[in-house]
Amino acid sequence: MPKVLIVEDNLDNYELARRVLSARGFAVQHAPDADSALQRAVDDPPDLILLDLGLPDADGQTLATWMRRIPALAHTPIIACTAWPEETARQMVEAYGCDGYIRKPINVARFADQVAGYLREGQR
């Protein structure tokens, strides 16, 4: 069962994502801020990280930078979740070493497929 770490401070957003991914058979972990996300990812490295770019302690770009420096996470797919305009999201994702992004609000019908697709790409 693939493990997905959702880094998201908004509990409603997290709950929605958790329900969709759990129904698809993913094992879902949660971290509400950068500090706990880093700890959680180091203690139990996930197969994929869904990263909200706006977090209350340090933002998602900074967290992605830290994660990439940790050997156990260096190749873990990091997918940014953001409501930023397309062009800004694309630039941030490229610049900060993320593997892609999913627009917020998530499309419930497509979300699990998007995550599964990024997981497959990460395994290549």
Partner: protein
């Protein structure tokens, strides 16, 4: 039950405005985060960051307001007070309570408070394209004074080797340089804000052609480790600003190639901006600064 009684029953309870000083930082943080859950750039905070924000920017909680419906927090607006001026910040209304005049009531109450405290002017920043907020402030008499950039740069080495002599300057000298500045100064980049920030320092360069300038910046720490660079103030003393900035950045990122950078409220027409773009700064979003006098 009569029709009028029924209508009274259906009407939502009145919103009342209460001093923010009667709430804990945790309560204010929660209210602030709730007001921005649907923003394009929500910028959530934890209690420690909000407390730091209040300290850095002279936010006066006695003059800041919370909108309550019954005992539930529905909105928030804070007022920074400095040198006879007020700064409206962290204004927001919880999405389900919008379009009921709560934002307008908060702004009017803050302006009224400011006037009663003898403030001569009020200012604020609003994210560009946040039309409801912009319209609210424009209707309250605010006018746009500056277009501002919020920029990010991922960790990376300098894009070309540095030239000239560089001097690294400690906090006290760095803060002393700010008296020379001629850039657009917004509330968060004013010297009164920067003197409250730890780990400020500066870099000065003198180039072979006689050009010179300095960069004051902040090295932000997290868990005792260097996290990112921020709070840039770039100043050219002699020479062409883009060239001076290019060499300041080249020296800076030769030393700090592993650090992320975020800088806020750089004027769109600041002459150092071309060098920032050349060094890989990405535009996160734009803000408008707005001001109005208080009669």
């Amino acid at each position: 039950m009569s029709v009028s009684e029924l209508l009274r029953e259906m009407r939502p309870p009145a919103i009342r405005l209460v001093s923010a000083a009667t709430f804990t930082i945790e309560q204010l943080t929660n209210a602030y985060n709730q007001t921005r859950v649907d923003y394009l750039v929500p910028m959530p905070m934890n209690a420690a960051r909000l407390a730091e924000y209040i300290h850095h920017y002279h936010v006066d909680l006695d003059a800041s307001l919370v909108a309550l419906e019954g005992e539930t927090m529905r909105g928030l607006a804070m007022l920074g007070v400095r040198a006879g001026r007020g700064w409206i910040t962290r204004l927001g209304v919880i999405p389900t309570t919008r379009r009921r005049g709560v934002g307008r009531a908060l702004v009017e109450a803050l302006l009224d408070l400011g006037q009663r405290r003898g403030l001569a002017a009020a200012q604020l920043e609003v994210i560009q394209n946040n039309e409801p907020a912009y319209n609210l402030f424009a209707r309250a008499g605010f006018e746009t004074t500056h277009d501002l950039l919020v920029l990010r740069r991922p960790p990376a080495a300098a894009v070309h080797p540095p030239q000239g002599n560089a001097k690294w300057l400690e906090r006290e000298v760095a803060l002393g340089l700010l008296a020379e500045r001629g850039d657009v100064v917004t509330w968060i980049t004013e010297t009164d804000s920067l003197v409250r920030v730890d780990h400020m320092q500066a870099l000065a360069v003198a180039l072979p052609d006689g050009s010179s300038g300095w960069l004051v910046f902040h090295e932000q720490k997290f868990r005792g480790l260097s996290l990112m660079l921020s709070r840039f103030v770039l100043h050219t003393q002699h020479g062409e600003p883009a060239n001076v900035a290019r060499n300041l950045l080249a020296h800076l990122y030769t030393r700090y190639r592993d650090l992320d950078t975020q800088i806020e409220n750089v004027a769109v027409d600041d002459p150092h901006v071309p060098a920032l773009r050349e060094f890989g700064f990405i535009e996160s979003f734009r803000r408008l600064e707005m001001r109005r006098p208080l009669p």
